[in-house]
Amino acid sequence: MTPFIIILILLAAGGVLAVIKLITFKKATGKAVVLDVLTTLVTAVLVILSVVFDSGFLLDIALIYAILSFAAVLAAARYLEKGM
């Protein structure tokens, strides 16, 4: 389990970088790109956590999160396209 904890720390560092850029970007399209990356990262964290905690229940949460984040990114992109 120890290498998986190290990978989780690496992914947390990537998440911190992404959240910092999510706050500091000026334009909304740049923020939507960071959101897309961040949702994939959170899904990967959920898949690794399901191994660390040894529960297949977290995989269901990861699948639902992937579906909802896809809908969110698509809605944000469509809103930015038509909203100008």
Binding site: F4, A13, I20, D36, L41, L74, R78
Partner: protein, 103 residues
């Protein structure tokens, strides 16, 4: 065990490099390039590593991998199109051939 650790480590490195590409790249299209492709590859590598480690979860893992593999390019395509329609600039090449074609 060793093989699955290698795959998960590789996937974690790819996703971290994707997040780093968001910080380093100068332009929104370059950020899409770095962020979407690298994270999709890293996610698939992580799912493969977990699949080697716990083969009894293959159903859910295959469904998640197929869903992410199908939907991530759709999302990035929509983001790129909205960025193009919002007149984002390309900083590196200096000219946008698609916009000149449309005008």
């Amino acid at each position: 065990m060793i093989l699955s650790t290698i795959f998960v480590t590789l996937g974690g490195i790819f996703i971290f490099l994707g997040a780093l590409g968001i910080v380093r790249m100068p332009d929104i299209f370059n950020r899409l390039q770095a962020g979407t492709k690298a994270t999709t590859l890293g996610f698939l590598s992580i799912v493969l590593g977990v699949l080697i480690m716990r083969p009894e979860w293959w159903g859910k893992l295959v469904i998640i991998a197929a869903f992410v593999l199908l939907t991530n390019p759709i999302g990035s395509h929509n983001l790129a199109r909205s960025a193009h329609r919002n007149r984002e600039e390309m900083t590196l090449s200096g000219s946008d051939a698609l916009r000149e074609e449309e005008e």
